[in-house]
């Protein structure tokens, strides 16, 4: 497993724990009221698990396991995947700032735009690795 995948997958695991922690608090709060402000963390719970965990883990595994080139560099344009990793995580926290922390609707918008940027950079990296065994 390449170093970048290790970073991406470990980050995804951290979001899994964050998402499950807030999810557990929210679910407990439904049964045994803890604090009304907890509901403000619902968007963060969703963001951490959908983007931080599922999307990020998928990217980490795809970077590792999609067909590699025979010649070095085996995973060309790795920089695009690195940029995607940074943008995705920046986007997640901008979305959380815009929803849970209510910093402003423009921050939420910026977060979503940055997430789209992450996906485009990731697609740019993997596009040429989506090939058959013959390289077609």
């Amino acid at each position: 497993m390449p170093r970048l995948s290790q970073w991406i997958i470990r980050t995804a695991f951290i979001y899994l724990l964050l998402g499950f922690t807030f999810g557990a608090l929210l679910l407990t709060h439904k049964g045994i009221p803890l604090h009304p402000a907890l509901w403000g963390w619902l968007p963060a719970h969703i963001e951490f698990l959908l983007i931080g965990w599922i999307v990020q883990l998928t990217m980490g595994v795809a970077f590792w396991i999609l067909p590699r080139y025979w010649k070095h560099p085996r995973r060309p344009n790795e920089i695009y995947a690195q940029i995607a990793f940074i943008l995705l995580n920046l986007g997640i926290w901008l979305v959380v700032a815009g929803t849970t922390f209510r910093v402003g609707s423009w921050v939420l918008l910026a977060g979503r735009v940055v997430e789209v940027g992450a996906v485009i950079f990731f697609a740019l990296h993997v596009w040429k690795r989506i090939v058959s065994r013959e390289g077609a």
Partner: protein, 141 residues
């Protein structure tokens, strides 16, 4: 494919079926019993925890680089604990959430607290188990 992975993946398929069947029921243009109407969050969690996350756990346990030949996937017992906690926790939620919403006087809110704790522990145990396998391919050193 290890036995634990087979259980994860088969369970995931059962949850996918259950989630989509529940979605069909929730979409029925009839006056549903309130217990069913309050199962909307259960539908999302059957899908995202029961299907997506459980499928991911099963595949990670199977395919991530092994640690050593002697103990390739770490402490298997931890994996089983995680599997059981996740599933018991999720099922408690599916029953407890609409029950708490429709019959709050029954005082079963603790069901949700237990469900939350079990699922959280399942995630912690799984990450603890999988973390050392996020690494380079095992080369027998």
């Amino acid at each position: 494919m290890p036995l634990l992975t087979r259980w994860y993946i088969r369970s995931a398929l059962v949850y996918l079926t259950a989630a989509l069947l529940l979605a069909v029921v929730l979409a029925m243009p009839i006056n549903l019993p309130s217990f069913i109407r309050f199962m909307n969050p259960a539908y999302f969690h059957l899908f995202l925890v029961g299907w997506v996350t459980q499928m991911i756990f099963g595949v990670i346990y199977w395919m991530f680089p092994i640690i050593t030949r002697a103990q390739p996937r770490g402490n298997e017992r931890l994996g089983w604990f995680s599997y059981i906690l996740l599933n018991v926790g999720l099922l408690l939620r599916v029953i407890g959430e609409p029950l708490v919403s429709t019959r709050p006087e029954t005082g079963v809110g603790w069901l949700l607290a237990i469900s939350a704790l079990l699922q959280w522990l399942a995630a912690v145990l799984f990450v603890f188990l999988a973390w050392p396998r996020v690494k380079e391919k095992y080369r027998g050193e």
